[in-house]
């Protein structure tokens, strides 16, 4: 320990700049990992809390596999032996605002909003509304669980709940009441199918669990009120049960045997698990991306330590001659890496927590956009994530220190005694490294083939890793090649540029590590840009082809309320008769559980789709023929991701958990779709109505006659709806724009992660160049002594950094191209099941190269200045 303190820690503290750069590199890597894990973990934990809070003390739940079930099942469930208590639940999300629903109030709120009067209306709050039966709630204690009064006197809760038995009343949490400045006696309006419904606040709930779940945006209404307002008459979403814990399994089995196939009996945590499974691919990809910064940081640590070994080779030789054993030397260097890892991890955890605050918004928004998981603004510190982050930082440092430590340990003690002995390490085995690199790339190709043929999604990550590893091993070769290729240019630019370029050749071992780090950063930048660009273009083409309607209509709040939305049939009938309207497509959807995974069943008008839509099928089949067959035989078409996930192909029979009971339907075709990776089954609206006993319509698409004005028809339709009903009527172009905006938002965090990886690589350039400059002190001194100006010394170092950037960028562009193929064809396909058409914009290569050269030149400024002033002066004095 004394030796470590004297020899290693002291050096670290005497070189604060370089130590800080290295520690910062590790810290950024750890921070990105921790931030992403904390953010996505918090979003999911928020969902889990909500599930727990609304489940109360239920220890079993009966719930539909799709869109609710008949309430007549409830008495049968309650009477099942072993069931101690049962409570029916209707659960709906809806937009809400404080105040009544008078036209004046809505207009005032809309004016304050500055929003489109039709869609705004001041409804900013998304509420999770529970419809409960006050008479059977007491055993579940979900509303005043932490209230001592409630615990001692359940009758008090019952009494409070009785208030809800009054029609059109609502109870809200204390948090929500404070936020919306509401109290008992005030009015709160919710949107039901676009219509504002005023509800009187009769109670403010104090239960702690409810305040925390969904940021307190939870409200309770009477069951009948929920069924009436949200058009769920006769339907239940769930029945919560309290059963004898010892008999839970047998009761569950008995219930499952008694209930129809589309109704499942689960543990309350089952829903959380289901959602975790749903977002697994998303979380995993984000986590994998966050590892890039860690990967780049390992190069930084490796280079810092390797450079220190080179600089201290003489001292290590002295120590070896004085009696320090090889293992002691190795332990000292590993100890230094450990110190860097510990410091970097500690700083990384702090930074990660700060970054997570920002990432929470972006991750939460994406989870909401893609998977309808509500936002949470409460960041949770998860011990496992923090420990995992620290472990990754320390492990990455130790792994990257292995080679330098071994190199140090094998320093011959004679290195200091034999005058004129080479201080540098053994020359780099460039050919062997190159062949190993090619081997790694071949292995990556093999893994890609294996991943796509066996559908082992994780193989894609291994493949990407070997691509990066392979190109990293090619870095020394690339560095020498770059020096050779640019030699004539360097010669033309003057002696200092030639010297700078040649210095890279002489220190190829160190330079190529920086080149590898830059290659990883540029490679990922190029790969992500190509992948996102290809994906965006694919989605854009898909929207253009698929969204053929001229105006898309949905009630305000549809996105929150989803299936609890229904448009009046008379409105739909009137819409079809509007002047200029050629056809109206209808939409009704419901989530289902298929093979224990979430999927969606959607009913649309196949006749309209056949005549006016343009769905593209994977096998190139004629859409009109497929849809005609589906209309005739009651068949379905499925999305590509559904087909991929469940290994379904045209002609297969699939069994859907329909409301009329499990029903087998024939798959007529598989079509391209990028709306959800969960997968969807599309059927004709009439088939949907038959299978789900539900002919309601959630939203519409209007197809106009040639020459009809979109604005006129839109205005006419909104007039039909009347001033009370808040509707979104979005022209095709605006909808397409909105889809692309959501798409771009989804990838915002990707760019942030990528930016940090580039930053770590730049730290590597600064650190390595500084070390190289210090190492060449004598050479710089001789140059100054021979008449080189400070400007020439600066240019020499800048030429070096510029060439580093150029080499890293060139290798990174090639690696990026290969990686983009892996991302598009392997990882994306296996995780999400989407076919993304690979499109390449050559500009990205130029942009990435220019970015890296400029960044490297900027990174080289400080070392160049150091070389031109301090180092040169010291070296000249020494000589």
């Amino acid at each position: 320990m004394v030796l470590f303190r004297w020899l290693m820690l002291r050096r670290l503290t005497r070189e604060p700049g370089r130590t800080l750069l290295t520690v910062l590199g590790v810290a950024l890597g750890v921070a990105v990992f921790v931030a992403i894990r904390l953010a996505s973990g918090s979003a999911l934990a928020g969902f889990s809390d909500t599930v727990d809070a609304v489940a109360g003390r239920a220890n079993l739940q009966v719930q539909s596999r799709s869109d609710g079930f008949d309430e007549r099942l409830y008495p049968r469930i309650r009477q099942m032996p072993g069931v101690l208590a049962a409570a029916p639940v209707v659960q709906v999300s809806a937009l809400a605002r404080a105040g009544g629903a008078s036209r004046a109030a809505v207009a005032a709120a809309a004016a304050a909003d500055g929003a489109d009067g039709a869609a705004g209306g001041g409804y900013h709050e998304t509420l999770l509304i529970l419809g409960l039966d006050p008479l059977v709630e007491a055993p579940f204690v979900r509303l005043d669980r932490d209230d001592a009064r409630a615990a001692s006197d359940p009758g008090a809760v019952k009494g409070a709940m009785q208030l809800l038995a009054q029609p059109r009343t609502i109870a809200i949490t204390r948090t929500l009441a404070n936020r919306m400045r509401l109290g008992a006696g005030d009015t709160l309006s919710v949107l039901a199918s676009g219509l504002p419904v005023p509800l009187a606040v009769v109670q403010v709930l104090e239960a702690q669990d409810l305040q925390q779940a969904m940021g307190g945006s939870i409200a309770v209404v009477d069951l009948a009120t929920a069924q009436e307002v949200f058009q769920k008459a006769g339907r239940l979403d769930r029945v919560d049960l309290r059963v004898d814990p010892k008999r839970r399994d047998s009761v569950r089995a008995a219930l499952q045997a008694m209930l129809p196939g589309d109704v499942a009996v689960d543990l309350p945590q089952g829903r959380t698990k289901q959602v975790e499974n749903m977002v697994r691919a998303f979380s995993l990809n984000l986590t994998a991306l966050s590892f890039i910064a860690v990967f780049v940081a390992t190069f930084l640590v490796f280079n810092t330590l390797a450079m220190a070994v080179v600089r201290q080779r003489r001292d290590i030789g002295v120590l070896r001659a004085l009696g320090l054993t090889r293992s002691q030397v190795a332990r000292l260097w590993l100890g230094e890496a450990l110190a860097i890892g510990v410091a970097g991890s500690a700083l990384g955890l702090l930074l990660g927590w700060v970054l997570a605050q920002g990432a929470l918004g972006a991750v939460g928004r994406t989870l909401h956009d893609l998977y309808l998981i509500e936002h949470t603004d409460h960041l949770r510190l998860d011990a496992a994530t923090l420990m995992g982050g620290a472990a990754i930082g320390i492990l990455a440092s130790l792994v990257s220190a292995l080679l330098p430590a071994l190199e140090a340990a094998h320093t011959p003690p004679g290195a200091t005694l034999r005058q004129g002995a080479l201080i540098e390490a053994q020359p780099l085995p460039i050919a062997r490294l190159g062949f190993t690199g090619i081997g790694a790339l071949a292995l990556a190709a093999l893994l890609a083939w294996w991943t796509t043929s066996t559908r082992q999604a994780l193989g894609g990550f291994a493949c990407a890793f070997f691509v990066l590893a392979g190109f990293s091993l090619l870095a020394p070769f690339a560095t020498l090649a770059a020096e050779r290729v640019t030699r004539p240019l360097a010669r033309a630019m003057g002696i200092e540029v030639t010297l700078g370029a040649r210095a890279l050749r002489e220190t190829v071992a160190r330079a190529s590590t920086v080149v590898a780090a830059l290659m990883v950063a540029v490679g990922m930048l190029v790969a992500l840009t190509v992948m996102v660009g290809s994906f965006r273009r694919t989605v854009d083409t898909w929207i253009t082809q698929s969204l053929r309607g001229d105006i898309y209509i949905e009630p305000a709040g549809h996105r929150a309320s989803a299936g609890a939305t229904a448009l009046p049939p008379e409105l739909i009938a009137a819409a079809t008769k509007l002047p200029g309207v050629a056809a109206v497509d209808t939409y009704r959807g419901t989530p289902i559980r298929y093979e224990d995974a979430l999927a969606f069943v959607v009913g649309v008008d196949f006749t309209v789709q056949r005549d006016r839509g343009h769905l593209a099928f994977l096998d190139g089949a004629d859409g009109a023929a497929v849809l005609s067959r589906a209309i005739r035989d009651g068949g379905v078409i499925v999305t590509e991701s559904f087909a991929h996930r469940h290994r379904v192909k045209p002609g297969d029979q699939i069994e859907l958990p329909a409301a009329i009971g499990p029903t087998k339907v024939r798959v007529e075709g598989v079509f391209y779709d990028y709306s959800t990776d969960a997968g969807a089954v599309l059927m004709d609206a009439r088939t949907f109505a038959r299978l789900w006993k539900d002919d309601r319509v959630e939203s519409l698409a209007l197809y106009l006659r040639p020459g009809a004005s979109v604005d006129s028809v839109r205005s006419a339709f909104l007039a039909l709806c009347g001033p009370e009903r808040l509707m979104n009527a979005t022209p095709n172009k605006a909808l397409r724009q909105r889809v692309l905006t959501v798409f771009d938002q989804t990838f915002q965090i990707t760019w942030a992660l990528q930016g940090i990886a580039v930053m770590v690589a730049v730290l590597g350039v600064i650190s390595t160049l500084t070390a190289l400059v210090l190492q060449r002190g004598r050479e710089i001194g001789v140059l100054r002594g021979s008449g080189a100006t400070r400007g020439q010394i600066r240019r020499m170092v800048l030429a070096e950094s510029g060439l580093l950037g150029l080499t890293g960028a060139a290798l990174g562009c090639v690696a990026g191209l290969v990686l983009s193929l892996v991302l598009v064809q392997v990882i994306n396909k296996q995780f999400f099941g989407w076919t993304v058409r690979f499109t390449l914009d050559p500009w990205i290569f130029l942009q990435a190269t220019a970015l890296m050269i400029v960044t490297s030149l900027l990174a080289g400024l400080a070392p160049a200045n150091l070389a031109a002033t301090k180092v040169a002066a010291q070296a000249m004095r020494a000589e």
């Binding site: 004297w6 001292d315 002295v318 001659a321 004085l322 004679g414 034999r418």
Partner: protein, 243 residues
């Protein structure tokens, strides 16, 4: 001058350093050069021996073999009766740490440590107690007349001071054998004379055998015995003429 073999010290004790028919070759470019050519030499315990010769005569190679830093191609090297070729790298290292002190031409003090810490270093390499090691280093610094520079960093010392610190470091762990490689090569004549005197007197006081490789005839005269080498062979082995 004929080679003359001399021995001294306790008759029963093994020689402090013994080479038996040692050959060491190096490849210089495409040419194989014999740095040592079947050299045999025995240095008794407590003896102060100077090895002289021109550059390339093999004297530093001999020192490296004695330190266990280099390995002979053929022949045997014994230090206090232990044959070095039988020892692995760790055992050789421990041997250096415990029984050998080293002094170099370029001092090789670690720049990040103070003078006292540099001197204490060999004790700590053997996991010695820091406080005791520093106390012992302080005592050695007094002996070499550097106690006033104990807390200074090496780069602030003069060449002579640095080499005195290096001598203190070589003796701090009371080694049986001190190997000095051109200890005066980087010093002016006055400082050089002081260092050689110091090596002789401290070596004698601590009972250490001192083997000093040097170019300097003046420096060699302080030794009890002078071994002259040329082209990898011992060409003379005589008692030094008192100055």
């Amino acid at each position: 001058m004929s080679a003359e073999r001399r021995t001294s010290g306790t008759p029963a004790a093994p020689p402090a350093l013994e080479l038996r028919s040692v050959t060491r070759e190096f490849l210089l470019g495409s040419e194989l050069v014999k740095a040592l050519d079947t050299v045999s030499l025995s240095i008794a315990q407590g003896e102060f021996t100077a090895i002289v010769g021109r550059s390339g005569s093999g004297k530093s190679t001999l020192l490296n073999l004695a330190a266990g830093i280099d390995v002979a191609d053929s022949g045997q090297v014994f230090v206090a009766g232990r044959e070095l070729s039988r020892l692995d790298d760790d055992a050789l290292t421990i041997q250096r740490r415990e029984r050998i002190g080293m002094v170099y031409q370029f001092f090789h003090l670690l720049p990040t440590l103070t003078v006292r810490e540099n001197v204490a270093l060999p004790l700590l390499l053997g996991r010695g107690d820091e406080r005791k090691a520093l106390a012992r280093a302080t005592k050695l610094l007094e002996e070499v007349g550097l106690s006033h520079r104990a807390t200074a960093r090496p780069h602030t010392l003069s060449g002579g001071e640095m080499q005195r610190a290096a001598v203190a470091r070589a003796l701090v762990h009371a080694p049986a054998l001190v190997l000095a490689d051109e200890p005066t090569g980087n010093l002016d004549s006055r400082a050089a004379a002081q260092i050689v005197e110091l090596l002789a007197s401290l070596g004698a006081r601590h009972g250490a055998t001192v083997v000093m490789v040097t170019h300097s005839r003046e420096a060699a005269q302080v030794a009890q015995r002078i071994v002259e080498m040329s082209d990898g062979r011992v060409i003379a082995d005589t008692a030094a003429t008192p100055a």
